[in-house]
């Protein structure tokens, strides 16, 4: 589904990302772990054509992301709060995203009902603009919005950060469900090793922009990763 070739990103001669080759097959749930500055967000930003690669290419379903916009209909992402529109209510935001992804209100409502539990009564029907919600609640909105319109590729940057423990376990359930669907490729980044190991089939560890581990999740994965990151 996603093919990375000779990708690198350099800022003022500092190499922040350098991936010679990486392939993420369709249906995989892919976890990206690493310390701060490892290049996780940079990688996702490149994948979404929000920044330009210094060298190399990224293709999403055989579409090169920085030359064509055709990857947009089947890709959805939530990187940070800047993906939310502060002056809309949660419902309005969902309907807006629904509109641009070709979903009518009924489709969106059906999805929202399904995730009622995840919202924990803090999101819908509370007459608040998104800008007035807490960071955690904003995140919930952003995450659910990525599920609108049956995307084939879902990209979540640090989805577990800022969430309360109950929501984290509910989110894990959602991501696992997505991962079980062979049509959907999920990309999750985190610096929480345990969460990532729990929800992903495959884990890639980045360190200073380089891939240092690429493992299929098994019982030993967490230990392996922990010992790697332990100093």
């Amino acid at each position: 589904m996603i093919q990375v070739t000779q990708l690198s990103k350099t800022y003022n001669e500092t190499n922040v990302l350098n991936i010679p080759n990486l392939e993420i097959p369709k249906g995989q749930s892919f976890g990206l772990v690493g310390n701060n500055g490892a290049g996780k967000t940079t990688f996702f930003s490149l994948l979404l054509d929000l920044i330009q690669p210094t060298t190399g290419t990224l293709t999403n379903n055989e579409i090169q992301v920085n030359t064509s916009e055709d990857w947009k209909p089947f890709t959805s992402a939530f990187l940070d709060e800047s993906f939310l529109i502060g002056y809309l209510t949660a419902e309005e935001y969902f309907y807006f995203i629904g509109d641009i992804r070709g979903q009518n209100k009924a489709d969106v409502n059906a999805l929202l009902v399904k995730h009622e539990e995840f919202f924990n009564d803090e999101i819908l029907r509370n007459k608040k603009y998104l800008r007035d919600l807490s960071k955690g609640n904003q995140k919930k909105v952003g995450i659910i919005a990525t599920l609108i319109g049956n995307p084939k590729v879902v990209i979540l940057d640090e989805p577990f950060a800022n969430l309360d423990p109950t929501t984290v376990s509910r989110l894990k359930k959602i991501i696992k469900e997505l991962g079980e669907n062979p049509e959907i490729t999920v990309l999750v980044s985190s610096h929480d090793l345990q969460h990532t190991v729990e929800v992903c089939d495959r884990i890639v560890a980045l360190n200073k922009g380089e891939i240092v581990k690429d493992i299929v999740t098994s019982a030993e994965t967490l230990k392996e990763l922990e010992s790697f990151f332990a100093v």
Binding site: L48, L79, F83, I85, Y87
Partner: protein, 494 residues
């Protein structure tokens, strides 16, 4: 401690995204500043001889004294729209071991070094010096007088911040000031109470009793400490530094569905305008500008269609277009990354902005039709200008927008927030008026006013016919510059 502040200030200036602007723009800004400095200096030098020749029975300094109130009033109005409070990102400083007072003093004192306080000095100094040399007035008294005038300028400086902060958001309070100002103008005009000569006589007596300088000094310190206290009491996170949470009101905008594919964006833009203070004010402004025509057409000397009519015509139907358009795509800066990565093609996004602006031009143009009272040619001019706005000026604004890298925080509290507007924004406005004005001038000189109007309308229609092509070109511009735009929007401006 102030050393640190100045260091911070310098860094925030040197490292902001707008510094990298093209050299041409910088040169132009420099030229404008130079032009104003020169103009004021010439005024200051020429003022004494001019007044000396025109009014033989009065001392020039007395005439100036009578005019001081007008100067100050105009300065206040000008500052209200142009000058912003010297802002610093205060939030990070709140919990550091810095006395609040110190930060506030710094913010307030910094404003003295604003260029707006330099201009009056350029007039006061040369005029004062000529008066000392030629005026047969006591040197010490003139020095005190000069000092007093500068104190008054600084009073305006601080009064402006108070008015801006306390009253700018409150339309009623603003109205109060407008009425107060209007009353004084009326009293002056009908010679019931001449505030100009009242202030003038006070300043005249200052020349005899220099001790009176204490009064403006008191006024200045009063205003300073009013500002100071206001800032101090609002220097808390849960106060003005945090925006109030308003209850969300949802409106049904399903009628926009008839606009087809751009409907979701149109809805978004309408909500943007309605729910955020900054764009909302833009809309109110547009309606006020509709009255602009009255000022021109009622002037008996303006019976012929002239260059001025074209400018007014463009302004009346285009004011919303200009105010909204010049900040495209900065309005969406806080979520621009989402716009770029969502299932949205750039073209559709831009088309919806064009749609909104076109709609505003048409509505405002229709609202100007009553001006037909002043003659058919007035109506024809206004409509021709509206067509020109639609055909040419909208694409020009859209094109200029692709260079916008300045972030606008819609959610930021209005406290100390006048960001995004600067001289640069006014410069974009120049070609919008100059080019059609020039076209009018050339054609009306070569042929007549009617031909000139028809030419303007024709150019507008050509623009409309080429819109698709123009938009393709503009979209490409946005696409190639989108990385720079995104990077600029990420930078928090202060």
């Amino acid at each position: 401690m102030f050393k640190h502040f100045i260091n911070l200030e310098l860094k925030s200036f040197l490292r902001s995204a707008s510094v990298g602007k093209s050299i041409a723009l910088k040169l132009f800004l420099g030229f404008i500043a130079f032009y104003f400095i020169l103009s004021f200096l010439v005024l200051g030098i020429a003022l004494y001889p001019l007044l000396h020749e025109s009014f033989l029975n009065q001392k020039p300094i007395q005439i100036v004294n009578n005019a001081v109130i007008f100067w100050l009033a105009i300065e206040l109005i000008f500052r209200f729209f142009m000058q912003s409070l010297p802002v610093m990102n205060i939030k990070p400083l709140l919990i550091l071991p810095i006395k609040r007072e110190k930060v506030i003093h710094y913010v307030l004192l910094k404003s003295v070094f604003s260029i707006y306080n330099l201009f009056p000095l350029l007039v006061i100094l040369p005029f004062g010096i000529t008066t000392i040399i030629k005026g047969n007035v006591d040197t010490a008294a003139v020095l005190v007088w000069m000092f007093t005038l500068y104190i008054l300028v600084l009073c305006v400086n601080y009064a402006n911040f108070l008015i801006k902060k306390k009253f700018a958001d409150n339309i009623l309070a603003f109205l109060f000031f407008a009425i107060l100002g209007g009353t004084f103008v009326g009293l002056e005009y009908f010679e019931i109470f001449k505030i100009s000569s009242f202030i003038g006589s006070i300043l005249n007596s200052l020349l005899l009793n220099p001790i009176l300088v204490l009064a403006p000094l008191l006024l200045l310190s009063g205003l300073y400490f009013w500002n100071f206290n206001y800032l101090k009491s609002n220097f808390y996170l849960d106060n003005t530094l945090k925006s109030k949470i308003k209850e969300a009101k949802t409106t049904d905008l399903s009628w926009t569905k008839s606009f087809g594919e751009i409907a979701p964006f149109l809805q978004l833009d309408l909500k943007l305008i309605w729910r955020n203070k900054r764009p909302r004010t833009t809309v109110f402004m547009s309606f006020i500008f509709l009255l602009y025509g009255l000022m021109i057409y009622t002037n008996p000397r303006q019976s012929e269609i002239s260059f001025l009519n074209v400018v007014v015509g463009l302004l009346m139907s285009g004011i919303f277009m200009i105010n909204f358009g010049q900040f495209i795509p900065s309005w969406d800066s806080s979520y621009f990354g989402m716009i770029l990565s969502q299932n949205i093609t750039f073209r559709k996004y831009l088309d919806s902005k064009v749609g909104l602006m076109s709609f505003s031009v048409i509505v405002l143009a229709l609202l100007t039709t009553p001006y037909v009272y002043f003659g058919w040619n007035v109506l024809a001019t206004n409509l021709a200008c509206a067509v020109y706005n639609l055909g040419i000026n909208i694409p020009v604004l859209m094109f200029a927008g692709s260079f916008n890298v300045k972030r606008i925080d819609l959610e930021k509290s209005p406290f100390m927030n006048y960001q995004g507007t600067g001289a640069a924004q006014w410069i974009v406005g120049l070609p919008l008026f100059l080019i059609p004005g020039l076209i009018f001038f050339i054609f009306s000189e070569l042929f007549n006013a009617e031909t000139a109007i028809i030419t303007i309308a024709t150019i507008g229609i050509i623009g409309l016919l080429c819109r698709n092509m123009l938009m393709n070109f503009i979209t490409k511009g946005y696409q190639t510059r989108k990385y720079a735009t995104l990077n600029g929007f990420k930078q928090q401006e202060n």
